[in-house]
């Protein structure tokens, strides 16, 4: 499919270059960046993962990583972007064949898609930030829910970077973020060890010994000591679904941590997940009061004002017209990843027609991924909203839920015209 799209991309008149090849040094950087990424199972990215994430054909990724033959520049750029690398550093500035000024523009594209945005480039989410602040600022746990690429990790990083915005100034918190995609955290003991290491790293001394990770009293004493020193401990667990498949072995852990986070006040939990914790447990047919202590905050579409500002800031030098904003809205519907992607394509291509094709090319794998993450009822509801004929109207509650997640607009239409087209294509 990707190959076909590439051809389609080529046929539509896109300027093609003679291709690029990574330098020796660039290969090392690529491999290092690849090794630092983790997939949903907590394992290092394979070339296939790179291909999926970047929306590029796996064979092209292989050719690029092995320096066998040249790959086209768009492919190289997509791979570099997903690995958070500057293409000029990988292939060498001279190798970029497109006209010089355009290359400069591309290499300094202000829009970030694929990776979490840095805290200083975090836009909007006023309500969500207010809710998070009201919760964690008073040591109450929160579950940040949002579909893939809706800015959960970016928000966690934002909290970590600006604790003064969330906590009383006289009690600076100790914030620890554990990405549960990391295989090391796929067991309760692994999480305890991760917590221990991070506390040691930030405090300069270990709260308990490594071999005491399994000793509940030792862990308890270590955490109580922190609490008694008046240090608010905030534990952020990102990608909670990564342990969902093992949730049964986390049953006891969940209740213990619930007790620690609530009645004992040893720490505050911030859990980021695609679905609410209660729903995760429900899907696994497990009953647990673990989710009860959380407030739920859903990350849906960005406020219009916020994403407008994001785009306008990116186009600050050249300016952006109302039509262009409308164009981005049509394709992104305020969902942060798609806003960034659409704006990046518009920046890069400087033409709505070309940008549309580039957007569709880049977004298609993401749409696929999004579609797979929805349950049948949600897929049906989206089909209905996309205009599938002879489809029964979904429950209003379901429509409302999809609206909260940003997949449907207030009007009931699918958030992106490109996604609507994708939905209609689905069997």
């Amino acid at each position: 499919m990707i190959t076909i799209i590439c051809h389609h991309f080529e046929e539509m008149g896109e300027t093609r270059d003679r291709g690029v090849k990574a330098t020796e040094e660039g290969i090392q950087k690529l491999k290092t960046a690849q090794a630092s990424q983790r997939n949903a199972e907590g394992k290092r990215w394979t070339l296939r993962d790179v291909a999926i994430e970047s929306g590029v054909d796996e064979r092209s990724v292989g050719r690029f990583f092995r320096r066998e033959t040249n790959v086209d520049e768009a492919t190289a750029r997509a791979i570099c972007q997903v690995l958070d690398l500057d293409i000029a550093e990988i292939v060498g500035f001279q190798a970029l064949s497109v006209e010089e000024d355009r290359t400069r523009q591309i290499s300094s594209n202000p829009f970030i898609y694929g990776n979490p945005v840095s805290p200083e480039k975090f836009y909007g989410r006023q309500r969500e930030i207010l809710e998070v602040k009201s919760r964690i600022g008073t040591a109450q746990s929160i579950n940040i829910v949002g579909l893939r690429r809706n800015g959960k990790t970016s928000l966690l990083r934002y909290i970590q970077a600006y604790p003064e915005k969330f906590f009383q100034p006289d009690r600076p918190p100790l914030i620890i973020r554990l990405d549960l995609q990391d295989g090391r955290f796929h067991s309760p003991n692994g999480i305890t060890e991760g917590l221990r290491r991070e506390i040691q790293r930030q405090q300069g001394r270990a709260p308990w010994a490594t071999d005491a990770n399994g000793d509940a009293w030792a862990v308890q004493d270590g955490l109580e000591a922190l609490r008694d020193r008046n240090i608010p401990l905030v534990i952020m667990l990102d990608e909670f679904e990564a342990i969902a498949s093992r949730l049964e072995q986390f049953q006891g852990w969940g209740e213990d941590w619930r007790s620690k986070a609530s009645t004992q006040g040893l720490f505050t939990l911030v859990i980021a997940s695609k679905r609410p914790i209660s729903e995760i447990y429900q899907e696994l047919r497990l009953t647990s009061p673990f989710g009860n202590i959380f407030s739920t905050t859903i990350l849906g579409a960005l406020e219009q004002q916020a994403w407008h500002r994001l785009v306008q800031d990116g186009f600050a030098a050249s300016g952006i017209s109302a039509d262009d904003l409308e164009w981005i809205d049509r394709f992104a519907g305020g969902l942060p990843y798609y806003v960034q992607l659409a704006a990046a394509m518009l920046w890069q291509e400087e033409d709505e027609g070309r940008a549309k094709r580039a957007f569709e090319f880049q977004a298609k794998p993401r749409f696929k991924e999004l579609w797979q993450n929805l349950n049948a009822a949600e897929q049906l509801a989206l089909r209905f909203s996309a205009g599938t004929p002879e489809q029964l109207p979904p429950e209003p509650a379901l429509i409302e839920m999809l609206q909260r997640y940003g997949l449907l607009r207030e009007s009931g239409h699918v958030f992106s015209s490109a996604f609507a087209a994708f939905v209609l294509e689905q069997p």
Binding site: L130, K133, P169, W217, Q264, P276, N292, S295
Partner: protein
Amino acid sequence: MKRFLQETWELFYWSLCCPSRLQERMNDWSPAEIKDGQKLNTFAWDILLFRPNSRFIIQYLSPAEIKDGQKLNTFAWDILLFRPNSRFIIQYFLISAVLSLPLAGLISFSDRGSDWLLGLAALLISYGLGRLFLPAGIGFCSPLLLALTYWYHPQLFTESLQTVLEFLPPLSQLAIGVATGATALIITFWIRLELLRRDSLSLAWNSPWLGRGLSILAGSWLDVTYGVTVIASGVIAGIATVIFVHGVAHGLVYGIVAGTIIGITIVIVCEFVEFFINFLTVAEMGVARNNLISSILGGIIYGLACVIAVGLSIAVASVVAVVVVVVAAIVFALPLPWFLAGCILIATSTAPLKHQWLGVIIAIILAAMRQEWLNFCALWVVPVTLVSYYRILPDYVFYVGSLISTSRILKRSALNSAQRLTQLPPYTTELLWLPLPNHANILASAFHQDPNVGLAAFQKMQTIALPGLQHTIQQALPLIVAAQLASNSTTSALINSINPDHPVLSLLIPAYYQGISGETVEITADSGNSDIAILFPRFQQVASDTEAALQAGSVALRERGLERLVDQLKLLAAQLPGLGIKPRTLQNWKLAIERWQHILELEIAEQQKLSQGELLNPFQFGNPLRPDRSTIFKGRQAFADQIVRLILDRNRPTLVLHGPRRAGKTSFLLNLPRLLPSDLIPIYLDMQQASMTDSEGDFCYGLVRAIQRDTRSQGLTLPPLPKRPDFYAKPYPVLEDWLDAVLPQLGERRLLLNLDEFEKIGNAIQERRISSRLFDQLRSLIQHYDQLGFLFSGVQTLDELGPRWSNYFISVVPMEMHYLEPHEAEDLLRNPDPEFALQYDTGVVEEILHLTHCQPYLLQLIGFALVTQANLQHTQLATQALLKDAIQAAFTNGEPYFTNIWTEFTGTTPEEVAAGQTLLLALAHRNDNQISSDQVTQAARSRLLRYHVIESIEDDRLPGHRSDRIEIPLFEQWVRERAIKA
């Protein structure tokens, strides 16, 4: 010329009153070398006469340096001629000459021409003392002292001179001695030169000292044929002379004085000699290096120069030494008034040395000298000397008078304090030993008028360690610091008070700023002014907290932070009189506190304008309310009273507190300490805590840990816990032993053991982590320990948990916890926090009470959502419209609660859950006719009724019939709008 004369006058005045200013001039006019990055003070001998640098000479002669010929010449010129400052020397001699005029006048009236030597001696003595003591002008008193002596006993000098000359050896012997010494010096020179050529720098460096020493020793021995060294002979000669003139009684004391002065003279002589030697060495090096004839010629010149230098020096030194000794002797023989005048001269001129005890020492010495002549009248010497040395008269008395008059003028005419300050010490004199009245106030006032002038004066005073000025500093410092703090007018200025670069405070009290820049400095009341040590750190803390508060992202957080700081300042103001602050500064500190308070209040007002009063969200849902959130824990007193009654009951029943999730059971247990009387101590045990149910040993260990923790918070100290491994080995005996030891210590008190989420014990037994022996043990504890009461808290009753529980615990009283009373719920909504500012529009509170059915979790949830919504919409009034929005937000925020009821309380099997959800949907949509009456639905209905999800009520439409409805309207709305069937 005018400037020259002014400088001359300043040299004289400063040497008597402002030695540090004179030192500054010496440093400016003849800069000293920089050593280890620090500029050293210029010594008097460096400015009055250059001091050739021997190290330079060695460097000059080393082969490496010789290669760079150009540089050497410049260097030599610089070294040899840079140091002396002819302007300074001339000014010094001019003053000495002027002060010698009285002596010259007296000599001119006599007919002894040789007495003019005395004038020369006066200049030399003045010069010698200047070289030793400048910037203290001790040398300037010597001509006057000589004049005084000469006036009293004009012949004594001549007589003494003759006497001394008789001691000198014949001229031929002198010549032999001088020639021998000179020859030895020439040989020394040659040896040194040879060593340098062979690169033996160390030997070359040391050889001259040995060679010259031996040369001079040999020469002087041959000259006088007795004595060990010139210095020793000088001292002995002085002592002998004094003894000869005045007898043995004062010989020793006089001898020391005379010997010291002779020593000074010899030092000068030696330096003259050294100068000539070095000068000639340098001058000759250039030619001598490669030219033998030039070298020999240089050596001869050098030798002759030495002969002349040594000969002349010895002659001059002898004369000067004798004069000094004789003068010292005569001074003590003066009539008392003249002697007192001499004492004033000596004390006044030595005062610039600023040594604390020197005045006393001088007074004692002078009084001791005088004792032989005047007996007790000599005691007059002591006060006169002390008054002069410590500058009480005329300086201090003058300034006191001046300040008393100034304070009146200042009050009348608001005279410029900054200007007035420059007319007082340390500007006019540095020698202030006693504190000046009102000086501190003038300094503080000057600071207020012109901080630059004030700071300059302050720093000047800091460099002078005399008690008078130090007292002024200590008195003024708290006034200045308080005034500086009170002078802030903005928040940024307030925060800047802790900035290490603060232009004034960081210089005034640097110790308080060193910690800020990373160093750890312990500041105690002893390390500085006690008022400052007590208060300034608190101001620093407030400034630091203000900075932190303003960095908070939320306006409400900023406001809250600032409000707390205002409270702290109010508290500090109230505590101020009891903190031990000096009464004279109390008002100033109070003003500073009030000023800061005012600034922060203005900032709060600004923040409120910015945010239109963003509210702090005090509501808490999800987490149980710990005792530190007691302001939002409302009601439940009736439950607590019931518990007390039951515990005191003779049957001592076991209590089971049950109720649906989120009903507030855990919050109630956590807040029991303040709800129960003090003789009933609640102990909280969370059975969800993994460590509690890992094993029976862990349970027992956790139990005693909790007892110790909760009794400690009630102020009781129990025996230490047994070791954890002991519990693993024998859990129950160890537990009982400990309880047997502890319970008697409680006296009349009882312990109420609250086992929260007690169902987890059953789970642990089921999972075989613990055995059912635990039940036996619990029952045993209930039966045999009268001081222990048990309360099990959970969702279910014991009967619902099965026969295992109900059989073990027989005397059980269940207590169901559910909704709050309406007035308690309203109190929660209206008064969750003392600072809570949200206002409710008419009917809103009633609407919330109706919607939530006073369910605690939902009240907190709606309250939270309402405040969030109010903040988003920048309002402080909760209207019906706002409530509508808040309900939608609450449905999202409280999703776990609603989902939990929807999935867990609708049934125990998937079929039951589906039926229960259908039932709820039907009730929510008022479709009663869709409700099935099948068995599964009825089972689900029973469960929903049991857990108060639905209730059965009298049907309005059909009297006598009952119908179901969802108990909590808010949940009903959620089902209607958000529930999605599984």
